[in-house]
Symmetry: C2
Subunit: 423 residues, 2 copies
């Protein structure tokens, strides 16, 4: 293949952020800086792809080595992320034309897109600009999603840390409730993310290492909610262990597809869906079994919890960013680095690659054999898959009792185009 | 004073548990074990004072040195806690007679009660048994409450760790929301504990070190909620910073005393108070300003979060347990060790003592000068008070990615009394 001339790179964060997406950014920038003969400036999109469309680029060369290194332990999206999916070329050709204008104006020859399934679809479309629009660009996706639902890759950066947060939190809350159950709360419900797939809820199951450990019940989106069966298990659990700790996925639903969260509360104004699923489940237990309950909704706390990030996750997130740059400079287009689990007894992983075409818009659900027969917990094979992903503690530095996360300067690149673009 | 003969000790945990109440238990047991000439066995009440009333005592001498040491990093109440307040002697003499029977049967001459305001009231009543019932006992209270509302002591063990959890969590969630706000959530509400006093909510304010940092607004129980003023600040904040992060105390209330949490939701069955205050506040913002919101309710996660405990808090909790034993063997009765802040520039503390009579049933609220003039944030003097309390990270040991908390054997002491006692 012909050696590519030196060009600038564009990097953007997409979709919901995680505790480690900035570690991928760190991998991209640190690696690109090591290949100055191939890659010139690394521009980041302010608020993701929107930054490319509006020509709002951030010049990462203005950031110090130290600040870029700090990305490895800073949660959230340092350049801003967005929920914005490019339409198909037929539906909105103007968007693609605009991207090419911006890329041309800033001599961008590399495009790195850090996101989940939707984003890999966008990345795939952009990787085809050479063919479809005659603009040569090397496009590499970088996997990221707390939902762990990308195909091909063994797991997704971002997931391991939220998994660790959930497992640690339900273990701690379980200890708390166990010690108070005699005269106080007997049922505790913790709501976690994962609207379509139960990976995050499943991770809670890791805290339960032996009979009686919290959590006692897990409610997955993949398993239709059976109220009678659920309540029976709650009651049995309280009678046997004195209390019952439950992890419920926000996506838990009835057989007809209705979310439990939707079936519940109406506020004083008659608005539906005020709350999450945790209060609905807790209230159900109270109404039917009479047990005193408490509930927690971790929401963003879980995916932002860099303070309890998994070391494996941080390393993999960084490695994916690094690998993406290496793939790009080796001339690969329309690919995404993947995490490949080695068939060894102790966990080991290496880096593989997938075609964006095979990744885009495919959701990896929990296999049925990862969920126990009664549908209310995880199996040993699931535990074996999950456990290495939460391994190791990668603590951020602290000052005055607080983690020292970096806020970048995020200096804008001077605009070169006259025309504005409306999103 | 006359040298006391060697007797056994009774230790009980009371009220809501914390991330560090077991560190106090560790201090009690390790110190008592060093004074074998004065203190024989250390019995713990199973589920707190209920264990004393029902003669359900745990023999802590059956626990290994290693397991007792592990209490220092294990959250929750290792022997079980309870919410049970002894009535006055006039109202329920039978309870006191029973306690004396149990104490006599097991040769208990020392009583250590680890709890908050209500518990110090109980401890005070028990410290008077010598006078009121002719049973000589040395009773020492050990301060514990995440609410930080005990008087005299500069702060309460348990508070520093929940404070650290809240400050770290809102900082992390703030970073998350900031990076997504362009196209997604603009207002984030995090509910924290503290029904009467705003100490925990105030701790969230520590995360905000400079203009624009999360949290932007704090809602205290001490300040009557002013909807108009609140919404104005939310709107201003979103317009200026792109987003708004709010910490709300579960005890936030209107001028007439109604809790915001009560004013909100009615579920599908017409039941009131399904949820917490966070969804109510979030929904209010949506209804009035139209901003997309997310909310979190940390609930027990915050007080059980030993994984992010404050080192200062752990050390002080241990020191209070140790000091309690030392006070007891020096012959002091009806007292509680306290934390005394030294008037030095860099934070330093020492141990003082207070009379239980002065501690019982007194609640220490946030001083008005700890809350900003607009009532919606903390002041510098508050920050100065709070900051040392969250200082230092005291991480538990991990195995397979999970914190290794200890579950004690909790072997029961053989009962000596024939009569059962109904709670």
């Amino acid at each position: 293949m012909v050696a590519k001339k030196k060009q600038n790179a564009f990097y953007a964060q997409s979709g919901g952020v995680t505790a480690v997406i900035n570690a991928s950014a760190c991998g991209v920038i640190e690696t690109a800086r090591q290949h100055k003969s191939k890659i010139g400036k690394i521009y980041a999109g302010r608020n993701g792809i929107i930054g490319a469309l509006t020509e709002d680029l951030i010049d990462t060369s203005k950031e110090s080595k130290k600040d870029i290194a700090a990305l490895k332990y800073t949660p959230s999206g340092a350049f801003g992320s967005c929920r914005y999916k490019l339409k198909s070329l037929d539906e909105n050709r103007a968007e693609y034309e605009r991207l090419i204008e911006v890329f041309k104006a800033h001599d961008i020859g590399y495009f790195f897109y850090n996101g989940g399934g939707d984003s890999m679809d966008t990345a795939h479309k952009i990787s085809q600009l050479s063919e479809t629009m005659g603009y040569p660009i090397t496009c590499v996706g970088i996997p990221k999603t707390v939902d762990n639902d990308l195909p091909i890759t063994d797991n997704c950066p971002g997931f391991g840390s939220v998994a660790k947060y959930v497992a640690v939190s339900i273990r701690e809350a379980g200890f708390d409730v166990a010690s108070m159950a005699k005269t106080s709360t007997k049922v505790f419900v913790m709501e976690v993310m994962g609207r379509h797939a139960g990976w995050i809820a499943a991770a809670g199951g890791l805290a339960s290492e032996k009979e009686g450990d919290a959590p006692h019940i897990i409610l997955f989106p993949e398993i239709a909610f059976n109220k009678e069966k659920f309540l029976k298990k709650v009651d049995r659990c309280v009678k046997k262990h004195g209390y019952c700790a439950i992890v419920v996925s926000e996506g838990a639903r009835y057989k007809d597809g209705t979310f439990l969260a939707d079936a519940g509360s109406v506020d004083a104004f008659g608005h539906k869906q005020l709350g999450g699923v945790a209060p609905v489940v807790a209230q159900m237990v109270k109404a039917e079994l009479g047990y005193k309950y408490h509930w927690a909704v971790a929401d963003y706390l879980q995916r932002a919890a860099r303070h309890i990030a998994s070391e494996t996750d941080v390393e993999q997130a960084y490695a994916m960013g690094k690998a993406a740059v290496e793939l790009a400079i080796s001339g690969q287009n329309a690919v995404m680095p993947t995490i490949v689990r080695k068939p060894t007894k102790t966990y080991a992983w290496t880096i593989g690659q997938a075609n964006l075409a095979d990744v885009a818009n495919v959701e990896k659900m929990m296999p049925r054999n990862f969920i126990s027969k009664d549908g209310l917990h995880i199996t040993d094979v699931c535990r074996e898959y999950l456990l290495p992903l939460i391994k190791g503690e990668s603590y951020p530095p602290y000052k005055n009792g607080l983690p020292q996360y970096v806020t970048l300067k995020n200096e804008a690149v001077k605009k070169k185009l006259k025309q504005k673009f409306e999103i």
